[in-house]
Each structure stands twice: as C-alpha cells, then as structure tokens.
Subunit: 128 residues, 2 copies
Amino acid sequence: MDAVSVIRALGALAQEHRLAAFRLLVQAGSEGLPAGALAEATGVPASSMSFHLAQLANAGLVTQRRVSRSIIYAADYAAMGGLMAYLTENCCAGEGCLSETACAPDTISERPGISQERPEIPQERNVS
Amino acid sequence: MDAVSVIRALGALAQEHRLAAFRLLVQAGSEGLPAGALAEATGVPASSMSFHLAQLANAGLVTQRRVSRSIIYAADYAAMGGLMAYLTENCCAGEGCLSETACAPDTISERPGISQERPEIPQERNVS
DNA sequence: TCCATAATTCGACAATTATCGAACTATGGA
DNA sequence: TCCATAGTTCGATAATTGTCGAATTATGGA
C-alpha cells in the first residue's frame, strides 16, 4: 500500500460519522448494511451519509453493491489490513506498537526496549 | 483510547508532510529529531513544519523537549500503540486485519475466514 | 403507467485546513 | 550587550471539507 492510499484511508477514517459508519460495517461483517441503515443508526441525514460513504469507498475501505433498491456497503477487510500493515511497518518501532495479546497473552502493557523517560539525556526539560 | 482521540490521531497522520515527519521520527527512535531537521528532510518551510508538528503534538503522537536552541520531537510509541489497539479492536474483524507474520511466519497473505468474493449472495452485482 | 422507496447528486454555505513570508521569542556564544 | 541561530506565532489567502434541503436517478410493486 503506497503512502497516497494510506493518507486517503487515514483521512477517510478521521471523521466522526465515517468512523462510526465504518465500525458498524466491521461489526456487520461481509453481509454489510444498506446506506439508509447507516444514516439512521448514526443520526446523519441521508445526503450527508452518502457523502461520507463515497469518501470511504474512494479510499477503498468499503465496497458497495446494489441489492434491489438498496445499496449495501461492506467493510473491505483486505484494505484495512493493508492500512494496518503499513502503519505497523512504517509508523511503529518494528512491532513495538502492536499489543502482544494475540500472540503472548501473558506479556502485557509493559514494553521493554522503549524507555518512557529517556534518562540518557539528563539536561533536557519539557516545553511548556 | 476514546473515539475523539482516535479521530485526532488519524487526522494528524492523514497528511502528506505530517505522515512523512512522523515516519522519520519513528525511524529516529527515542532520541528524536529537531524541528529544523524535519523541515529540511521533507522540504517543507519551517513555519509550515511547525504547524504540522503542533498538530502531531496536539494529537499526542509526538513529544517535544527543548535541548539548547533546538526543540526535539520524538514519536510517542505508546500513543501509536493505543491507536493501533483501537483500530484492531474496532475496525478489524477481531484480529483479522493484522498480518500474522509477527506470530506465525509460515502462514502468510491468505487469511481464511474472510471470503473475498462472497459467493453466498449470488444475485448481487457491483455498482458502477 | 404511476407511485413509493432508496439513494445519490446538486448547490449554497460555513468551517476547517494548508501554505508561507514576515515578525517575534528564546537561547547561547563572542 | 550584541548577534546569529532555532523555532514559533501571526496574518493573509487559497483550498478542502462538512452540512443539509431540494432535485434527480434507479428500482420494484400495484
């Protein structure tokens, strides 16, 4: 996933109503939900929701298909996976940002190797 | 991490120059980099970079500390970890979006359980 | 064909975001 | 004290984003 796609995906999720809609779609699974249901569930007018869904679709995070009069949106897990992979590789210190709960449920919440207080530079002070 | 913080963090990363700066900071590690180095490395004017760094700081993704005349920025791995945790929990189907390479290097690139073609709904068709 | 439903597109507007030079603040050295 | 360096803040401006009612398109049933 290239940086441009990543920025588009991040921007698509960086909005209250779009994040809410996407979360609903993730919960809904591959069946998806019609646009109207998303508008109603989030309390957003239909035309506004349509605008937001177009952004999510443009970012590749959701797919859309028509079933009778409804247009069903569904989360694209592969795209989300690509985003997660990019962030893990480029924006985390190795795998440092991932919770290890999926792999090692006993090691939690304390990540060695990344010092929080940086004692090696004593003369520094925080900016107000 | 609450939804508001997540939206702020996503929005902070959803911009070309900020994503570039943050990636540099992640690479730089806990030592961090001064604002000027980030401006020079990205080719962004100092005042613009200052604006972007303020956004990253406001989102909690970077820390800043003064060392002599320089202000050193550093990636906040804990914040990034919080963001990743939120996305994993709320925007992925369980752990479905995470590559298993960190845990199981032999199982790659084909994730069972998430069908890409959804053959169970045959009468659908894509929206043009 | 006619009507109701589901959704998108249009248009106008407000709000936010991005850009960048100029002015300003803080720090440290001569 | 005076000057140079490192950054931020200010101000003006352009561009993008978000909102929502009204108009439009697509579909299916009577």
